[in-house]
Amino acid sequence: MRATRKLVILMIIAVLASAFALLAADKQSKSKSKQARAAGPAQMEENKKILHALNRLTFGPHPGDVEKVSAEGLDKWFEQQLHPDKIDNSQLEARLAPFRTLKMSTTEMVENFPPPQVVRALENGRMSLPSDPGKRAIYESRMAAYEQRQQKKEQTIDADMKTDAQGDEQMTPEQRNARQKDREARMFADIDSAQLLQMPPEQRYNNILKMTPEERVELARAVKGPEAMQLVDGMKPEQRETIQAILQPQLVVGGELAQAKVLRAIYSERQLEEVMTDFWFNHFNVFINKGPDRYMVTAYERDVIREHAFGKFRDLLVATAKSPAMLFYLDNWQSVGPDSDLAKYGPQRPGAQKRFRRFGMQPPPRPQANNKNRPSGLNENYAREIMELHTLGVDGGYTQKDVTELAKVLTGWSIQQPQRGGDFFYNERAHEPGTKHVLGHEIKEHGQDEAMQVFDILAHHPSTAKFISKKLAMRFVSDTPPQSLIDKMTETFLKKDGDIREVLRTMFRSPEFWAADAYRAKVKTPLEFVASAVRASGVDVQNALPLVQQLNKMGMPLYAMQPPTGYSMKAETWVNSSALVNRMNFALALGVGRLPGLTPNPQAMLHGENPSDTNAAVATLENTLLAGDISAQTHAVIEKQLSDPQVAQRRLDDPAKPPNYGAIAGLIMGSPEFQRR
């Protein structure tokens, strides 16, 4: 009886809500139709527009988003999204707070989580150990690991020189001793890891710090996978980072960054900023696993990409060009003008060769021994990618000669001590002298400013305007965006000095954005799929690492696209059997709560619906996950499954037990329609 009454009330609410939504949409359609009177493409139905906007400008709707935007008005919501600073994001900030590296400078990261170069410096006595016990533990463990690696190397070299028949007797006492120590450490570590996992966090932390560095290295070997997560469970952020830095140093900086990216995509209220940050990072792609880029990408995304995501394109281009992350990734930091002082005279004290020349003398040639280990010529890599991938596009009308000339212009744009997290540094002595010619422009010799001049030319070039506009349209509208849309955006780009916000406005206001055939025309990339599934299902993310690992499996490891092209946004890249298998499995695992640290919330998914009313509950699920726009065949499959006892988990002796809605949610998220946005 009570259940029925509740249902009636809910139905009334539902009807009222949809009536309001229709009214609001109708009001908008009236104002819209005035704007878009010119005969354009057939427009999508009004009630789909909000869903469409959320699908394109965010990482997918969160339950309640459609209603919220509907109440606020689509245009107003869009304008707000264009100004992220004005949107409160405190909930996300709280989730990101444990990841301290997100706010560190590159130098701080290098200092806190030392790379091999710093460890070597310590080994050689060029640096001293820090006094802070946590930091000290990290350094000591790194050094112990380093020493063991060195030892192993020597041992294998020794072993290679001996025949197999020779055994223990042939070992030096030192070697035998080392091996014995190695075995003992392994045994102790076994005991420790089992005990450690039982201890409360504080005690666990202190015990690990009390270990010898060798024991910690062994602990790192013994504790892998889920146990490694257990080991830091419940610790304060700083403690967790310290332990992780001891166990898996590469996981701290890159791991925090990747987790933060997933959390942002899921929980940020500034959704368009996340989408644009992702877009620009991918456009100006940097590969995190290339040497010191491990430490540089955090600042690159934070201070370069996100900072300029809605600004002028020129500023974004220049900021990327000055970023150590990019200069290292595309090798420009090592590019040296063939006729520069550095190439001719070597790394002498400043002014030394000037003294020679002042007296009309030829400076002495650099010593031959120096030649081998020092860069001494042009590297075209960055110059080419600037033109091909960052600005003009491959058909933008440049030649091999332009690439070489731009490479000369860019000589000297370098990094001060990249291995120590150093900053941008213009090295006058590496700069190629003389006039250069780029794209028909004469660039007079002017040091660092030459590049600024070329960046201005490139950023305002019609090919660049077209290339960027098309790429944006491909991200937001369709894999094959209509030329009319690209033209409009290009015009705005050129007229408004490459103002990205303005270009997005033009796109949002164009009838092409709202064309009927644009609705659900884009296939989600793995990141979009994973983020949208978590957002739609309201699963609470206590640990984002499993999501990061899913993306690795789906072929989209975050920050780890090696070629400078970045990831494709096209359907054909992401629709294949391997991808589909992974997506279906992920959807199921997410729905039923099989992923560690990701707890489904069936009550939230059901919006308080009575779970024993199967039909109403499924309708709510379909509404939550797909805004109710589900195909007849997907709905039919789900209905059929509900009657299957194994899926429903209903037993004859326990008829009251509700169906497994998590599995149903998994089926919906793995359905064909959920793969699109």
Binding site: E380, G555, T573, L580, Q633
Partner: protein
């Protein structure tokens, strides 16, 4: 002829001798003859892509060229003297010393080399050049399918196996895009929906029904291929095929890929063409010489391929393996002891029917005036000449104009005759 052999095998050898002492290749042949739906007993072509533009001049070294040494003062591979130099092949060319696993294959006449091969298009963009090589249509961006898919498209196969065309990796490569269904998988073990329990089956069937009836043409097609493959894989259980003795795949993604391709082939799943790739060849900085980046990669490449060859055993007789990379690198080393984007490159061809132990193609020379645009090894063999011979002679697809549209040398006249 083939029928006679099959009849003999089926009615003769097995019946008389009994299964216990039958060599494995004979039982496999019988099995292959009986499971006609899987399209077994076919010729196979395995295509391997070195992404990032491999430095062909440091892989197969023209050690008799003085210019090679003057242009590469710090990264040249020393002449074949002593243990650390190039492994001499014919007095002019030599293999990188880390590719010692290739030498026995060369000596046995299974391995051939085509040098100064490449694309006629002059792009030095990785993206475009890979795209052209995979589509098989240099300079034409509008091509939507890949040459390896078209290589099968002309060949009718009524009861085709979903594994006719397979790629290892998370994404379907451009080479295999097209009208013939192709399967890509990152890992054989994980290629199942909903796990292996009974609940998994129900979920799998539900998804299958959704995708089967979907009006979404893109997802519908891929969905159907996926489920067919999942089911077939489950019953064939390729994982029970452990690598043959002596097939020591090195650790890493590429070795894993080839091991799994071998498993699929040995499980009789009807593989006709397979694709795998190995990245990381873009050595602008510190390329290395007999050691370093290039040495590590060439070692991984050659050890993986040699292990694959050993693993295939007598199935190698019907298999041709070909390697390619989007373009070569500058003949001169750059200012960072690396090399920049160049033009022609080297291709390896390995297989039962290959007339190996020979470097094919005309050598253009490394004098400055012989170099393409004064900087790169010139292309004397179009990569499509190499591929079209394999398609025509080995796979038996004679319609080369469809496989390589617009290619004026698409005819047996222009074959290098590495397949006889």
């Amino acid at each position: 002829m083939a029928i006679t052999r099959r009849v003999f095998l089926k009615g003769g050898a097995l019946a008389i001798v009994g299964t216990s002492v039958i060599p494995s290749f004979l039982t496999r042949a019988v099995y292959a003859a009986e499971t006609a739906t899987a399209g077994t007993g076919k010729k196979r072509l395995v295509v391997l892509f070195q992404r990032g533009a491999a430095d062909g001049l440091n892989i197969v070294i023209p050690h008799a060229e003085a210019a090679y040494y003057s242009m590469r003062p710090s990264i040249a591979i020393p002449r074949p003297k002593g243990n650390n130099g190039a492994i001499d092949l014919d007095g002019f060319f030599g293999l990188h010393p880390s590719m010692a696993d290739f030498k026995p294959l060369w000596d046995a006449g299974h391995l051939a080399i085509v040098h100064a091969a490449g694309s006629p298009d002059n792009t030095r963009s990785h993206f475009d050049a890979q795209d052209y090589m995979e589509s098989g249509t240099p300079g034409m961006k509008a091509t939507e399918d890949g040459w390896l898919n078209r290589a099968l498209a002309g060949m009718k196969e009524p009861a085709a196996s979903p594994f006719r065309a397979v790629a290892m990796g998370g994404a379907l490569p451009r080479t295999l895009a097209g009208s013939i269904p192709a399967v890509s998988m990152g890992n054989i073990r994980e290629f199942t929906v909903g796990g292996r329990g009974p609940g998994g089956n129900i979920a799998s069937n539900s998804f299958e029904a959704m995708y089967e009836q979907s009006v979404d043409t893109v997802l519908h097609g891929t969905g159907n291929e996926t489920f067919e493959a999942v089911k077939m894989l489950r019953s064939a259980d390729p994982e029970k095929y452990t690598p043959a003795p002596g097939a020591n795949y090195p650790r890493g993604r590429f070795g894993d890929s080839l091991r799994q391709v071998a498993q699929l082939i040995k499980a009789n799943l009807g593989v006709e063409v397979a694709f795998a790739d190995i990245g990381g060849w873009d050595h602008h900085v510190n390329e290395g010489s007999i050691q370093g980046q290039i040495a590590n990669l060439t070692r991984e490449l050659s050890q993986s391929i040699a292990a694959f060859w050993t693993d295939l055993g007598d199935l190698g007789a019907d298999t041709v393996i070909v390697t390619m990379s989007e373009f070569g690198r500058t003949a001169r080393e750059n200012g960072n002891r690396g090399t920049d984007h160049g033009h022609a490159n080297v291709m390896f061809v390995l297989g039962g029917p290959v007339k190996g132990g020979k470097v094919y193609g005309r050598w253009p020379g490394l004098q400055t005036e012989q170099l393409y645009e004064g900087r790169d090894l010139a292309v004397t063999t179009d990569f499509r000449q190499v591929l079209s011979e394999a398609v025509y002679q080995h796979l038996g697809n004679k319609d080369l104009e469809k496989v390589f549209p617009g290619f004026d040398k698409a005819s047996p006249r222009n074959f290098l005759k590495y397949l006889g």
